[in-house]
Symmetry: C2
Subunit: 245 residues, 2 copies
DNA sequence: ACCTGAACACCGTTCAAGT
DNA sequence: ACCTGAACACCGTTCAAGT
């Protein structure tokens, strides 16, 4: 009765509503809290009702990834390849940051969804129309890796877990055992503009390595790099050039 | 009776034996098949017996990561920083490749174990003794990210899953929808030396982007880069130099 | 024909009962 | 004091029974 009344008040279930509820639940409660059962409860529906709109949990996660990737802004044409790629990737980063679970879920997918494939296709196109050979574009895409979607795999899960006030990764007590880590941690803690608590400026780090790669790509493109010449040889030849220049 | 006889035959349980059995089980059956219950069964022991040697499953996974990281060869002194770092990272890569689950597990850990911290400390040391400032070393470590431990996060799980003969990521049917992906896939399929099945040469891709980064690091080091000057400005200044040179 | 509750085959971990 | 079986609170998904 009450159940029926509630069902009548809510809009009918649809794949889209299921996916958006999944995204909302993962945003709020974390990806570990996302279960078919909890999602059904959130939607005021019996668990099995979900299976009419998604084949299983894997397909639910696929669809949720599509929602996030759908938030990435389209490429803006009419600028140099580097600026265009840079802007697009930083837009992807903004989308991913809004959904902290997304990076992990994307990497757990056994294959890209059509929406992700379309995004990758358009990024590849930006390199190709920017004057990159098929060969170089291929390796460049591998070098970008997950950075293409706006995230780098931090070595350890930096997401705010269930232990909010845990000791810092490199606490003072470990300074003796890990002198170089301590030196770095100390410098970061005193850095201007760093977040309270001694954290790193993730955006700066992201742009630092993104620009390092993009600059490297541009250098290779100008040299007409092909996979016949290994990058190491390339760099050595270039180092010689720089030294003499 | 039979149980007791079996228990008597086996060496007594220890933390080390539990960890090694966990590594072996994950190697053989995949990380998804690793459960406390199955691991106990593998050791001929009741599930609760494991909890005397590891506090919980999280600590089991931590210990398993330590086993893998322990396989990385120590640094060999007395060579230039780039060669030393390169060799060490490629050694880490060999260790990680032997345990396909390790990359995923490392990234799921909320914080580095002491063994991983010690490895990171020694890598930081290779940069510092190689002439890198604390500042630059910090950003360089971020840029390396998971590559430091020998793996890059491939955008999608390339590990041999439960569907061994599934269609290729970009099958011919999708060529029309994703023209640039198709172009790349076609080129890779015809590449010399590529594995049968059209896969990429992962080792080449890894070294390509590793060398791209290491070369970039060396360039910044020589320029005396500090975080006051952004990489982009650096590169633009350098581009002007290169163009005029 | 459609929907759904109970059931199945798992988890990690707690806890009290047994030796 | 030590060990461990049963139990708890969950999963994703199957399937047969109900409407």
């Amino acid at each position: 009765m009450t159940q029926q009344a509630e069902a009548a008040r809510r809009p009918p279930l649809s794949r889209d509503r299921v996916l958006r509820a999944g995204v909302a639940l993962a945003d709020e409660a974390g990806i570990d809290s996302l279960s078919m059962r909890k999602l059904a409860q959130e939607l005021g529906v019996v668990p099995m009702a979900l299976y009419k709109h998604v084949a299983n949990k894997e397909q639910l996660l696929d669809g949720m990834v599509d929602v996030v990737v759908g938030e990435i802004e389209p490429p803006d044409p009419g600028s140099d390849w580097k600026g265009a790629v840079r802007r697009r990737i930083l837009s992807a980063r903004r989308a991913l940051i809004g959904h902290p679970w997304a990076a992990q879920v994307i990497q757990s997918r056994p294959r890209p969804t059509p929406v992700v494939l379309a995004y990758m296709d358009s990024v590849i196109g930006m390199f190709r129309t920017g004057g990159f050979s098929v060969d170089l574009t291929h390796h460049v895409m591998h070098a970008l890796g997950s950075r293409m979607l706006g995230f780098t795999q931090e070595l350890f899960d930096a997401s705010p877990g269930p232990e909010p006030d845990a000791p810092a990764p490199a606490s003072a007590g470990d300074a003796g055992q890990y002198p170089y880590v301590a030196e770095l941690a100390g410098a970061v803690a005193h850095e201007e503009g760093s977040v309270v608590g001694g954290g790193c400026d993730d955006q700066f780090e992201f742009e630092f390595s993104l620009d390092l790669l993009l600059d490297g790509f541009e250098r290779l493109r100008r040299q007409g790099w092909t996979s016949a010449r290994r990058p190491q040889e390339t760099s050595e030849a270039q180092e010689a050039q720089e030294t003499t220049g």
